[in-house]
């Protein structure tokens, strides 16, 4: 205290509201530089001790300045975990990278970094970092390797939304345990639960039910694990959804989401929520679908999960269009564009353009629709290109550009078609687009013939059990449930009947 008072009196230090500081930054730097190096290092280390783990980032900095990098690593890892807990993913990545500069061959840190990449919407970097981690985990460490695979499976089906890739990871986890001849019931149960989830989405439905039962039997200590309970509840919900039981699937999916939140896995909660919202919409309960989407959005926002916010925003926009709340739908999809800008990925920007285009079309703005869908088709987003072309054709017809609309139909024929493109419904949609083009050419007789062709095609599809399978095809092939592409044959038929009624047929 006497020394401090003396320094204040000499003008070296100042007292700013009870806090001592150097009068000038240059004075501080000079004093710091004057310290003998051993003394300086000792002081930094003592400061780190005082700051402790609660202020991990600052402790790490002081330890590094004390040339105690080996002690800083633990603090950097803790700082990264703290940053993740408050959704500061960029900071979390920065701390982990710094830690890995010190210990580049630390597999647990690499796994953490891989997961942060996944949460930041960078699946390729996540995959590369995962491989680095696996390369460092010994071949005889079956438990370690299995844990790495399970963890990768969790973020692949959560943050990255790639159930096929996740399925591979869970299978790898089980193979590691089989190869080592280790029962490891708890680890197996967790891998089986994840595998059941992925199989419910991307594999054989009967197999999914069997895996759920197998995981339940093997639960043991895992039975009390919230993540395990989430996986089983979610797998049950997806199994129902896939069989077309949309309304029945909502309760287990919502239960799964809450369990995922309990174990601080908002990315897994997202998956259950968006499927629940889509299922509620498919069951025509759009108010409930909207409530689910909004709850999920609030959580993703709070956790800084921008890429997942993007998909939920699209879902919200579509639900609002189905509720007839057009202005809100438009505002929502514009907010999605801003999220896409933040992510700065051209494929994400193209995806947002696609979603914007579809909502614009549904809300009576064909000019925006054709422009945005053209942007989407110029890129390589994970969308249904045939369906995007048909939507653009519809927009062009509405703008009185039938020749351009026909060009889109010709381009549709050349596009590859996969399960997510709902091939059984393509000819119905195609025929409707032809009808709208004929109407744009002021040929009501041709328009009527085409619209009737479309109506007959939809009638053939009514009650189709493919609806559930088309659902999971969207998740597997496009990485998102088909909120924007719900198959509603009855609604399509009603729309066509209205369009037929609106044709001006001149008696011949």
């Amino acid at each position: 205290m006497d020394a401090a008072a003396s320094a204040i009196g000499a003008g070296l230090l100042v007292d700013r509201r009870g806090r001592l500081g150097f009068r000038h930054a240059l004075l501080r730097q000079a004093s710091y530089d004057d310290l003998p190096e051993p003394r300086r290092a000792w002081l930094h280390e003592r400061i780190a001790e005082v700051l402790g783990p609660e202020r991990a980032a600052e402790s790490a900095r002081h330890l590094r300045l004390a040339d105690r990098d080996e002690l800083a690593v633990e603090h950097l890892a803790r700082a990264a975990a703290t940053a993740r807990a408050v959704a500061a993913l960029e900071e979390a990545e920065s701390y982990l990278r710094e830690a890995l500069e010190i210990v580049p061959r630390d597999a647990p840190l690499l796994l953490e970094l891989a997961e942060v990449h996944a949460w930041r919407g960078r699946p390729q970097e996540a995959a590369t970092t995962l491989q680095r981690a696996l390369g460092l985990i010994g071949a005889d460490d079956a438990a370690g390797r299995a844990d790495a695979h399970v963890r990768a499976g969790d973020w692949l089906r959560g943050a990255v939304c790639d159930p096929r890739a996740a399925l591979t990871q869970y299978r790898d986890a089980l193979e590691e345990l089989d190869r080592a001849g280790r029962p490891e019931r708890t680890r197996r149960a967790l891998a089986l639960a994840g595998l059941a989830w992925c199989t419910a989405v991307a594999g054989d439905p009967g197999e999914a039910a069997r895996l759920v039962d197998q995981a339940s039997e093997m639960a043991g200590d895992a039975g009390g694990d919230e993540l395990f309970a989430h996986d089983l509840s979610s797998a049950r919900g997806l199994h129902l959804l896939r069989g077309g039981g949309f309304a029945q699937s909502v309760p287990p999916l919502l239960a799964a989401a809450e369990r995922a939140l309990t174990c601080e896995r908002p990315d897994l909660a997202y998956t259950s929520w968006i499927n629940a919202a889509s299922a509620a919409a498919a069951a025509s309960d759009f108010d409930h679908a909207l409530a689910i989407a909004e709850r999920a959005l609030a959580v993703m926002r709070a956790n800084g999960l921008t890429s997942l916010q993007l998909h939920l925003t699209a879902a919200r926009a579509h639900i609002l269009t189905r509720l007839g709340r057009r202005a809100e739908a438009r505002a929502t999809v514009e907010a999605q564009q801003q999220l896409a800008d933040r992510l700065g990925d051209p494929d994400v920007a193209a995806l947002a353009a696609h979603d914007f285009g579809l909502v614009a079309l549904a809300t009576g703005d064909p000019a925006t629709a054709e422009r945005e869908l053209a942007r989407a088709l110029a890129g390589t987003p994970a969308i249904s290109r045939p369906l995007a072309r048909l939507a653009r054709a519809e927009a062009l017809a509405a703008l009185g550009r039938p020749a351009d609309a026909e060009a889109e139909l010709s381009a549709t024929v050349r596009e590859p078609i996969g399960p997510a493109d709902l091939p059984a419904m393509l000819s119905a949609r195609f025929a409707r687009a032809q009808g709208l083009i004929a109407a744009a050419r002021r040929d009501p007789e041709q328009a009527r013939r085409r619209l009737l062709e479309a109506a007959h095609a939809w009638e053939r599809q009514a009650g189709s059990a493919e609806t559930g399978e088309a659902w999971v095809a969207n998740i597997v092939d496009l990485g998102r449930p088909p909120v924007l592409g719900l198959v509603e044959p009855a609604w399509e038929l009603d729309r066509i009947r209205i369009e037929l009624a609106g044709l001006a047929i001149v008696p011949g």
């Binding site: 050349r414 590859p416 078609i417 709902l422 000819s427 195609f430 041709q446 095609a457 599809q461 493919e466």
Partner: protein, 130 residues
């Protein structure tokens, strides 16, 4: 492996042929030898066809639909049908390559006749479209 090609041209626009090829529910209308089809709760690239007067199901796999091409293989016989649409001088050309496993070689001539009839029915149906 025994195989054969067949082709036909039509004035019908390529889009009309395409709609008939990508939608298995339309196959009974033009594909000779197919009485009915089912699309059970299976992936969208599978369907089952039934021949006239035969109760046995014949599951099929749609291997590819892209660039005006549809490739279908029978999961029982492994007979493979590669349909290809193209536009030549303002006409639409429909071509098909049929590959028959050696074990089913005795079906070659019957398949040739069925496919020839199917081509005629396909193009006629496309020409009838609005």
């Amino acid at each position: 492996m025994p195989e054969f090609h067949a082709a036909s041209t039509t004035q019908a626009p390529i889009e009309e042929l395409w709609k008939l090829l990508v939608d298995p529910t339309r196959y009974p209308e033009w594909w000779a030898g197919i009485a009915s089809i089912e699309q059970p709760p299976a992936p969208a690239d599978r369907f089952t066809l039934y021949h006239p007067h035969e109760p046995e199901p014949w599951p099929q796999q749609i291997e590819r639909r892209a660039g005006g091409q549809v490739v279908i293989s029978c999961m029982t016989s492994a007979i493979r049908y590669e349909w290809q649409l193209s536009t030549i001088d303002e006409e639409t050309r429909v071509a098909v390559l049929v590959e028959i496993p050696v074990g089913w070689a005795s079906h070659l001539e019957a398949q040739r006749e069925l496919i020839q009839r199917s081509l005629e029915q396909l193009t006629a149906l496309a020409e009838e479209q609005p």
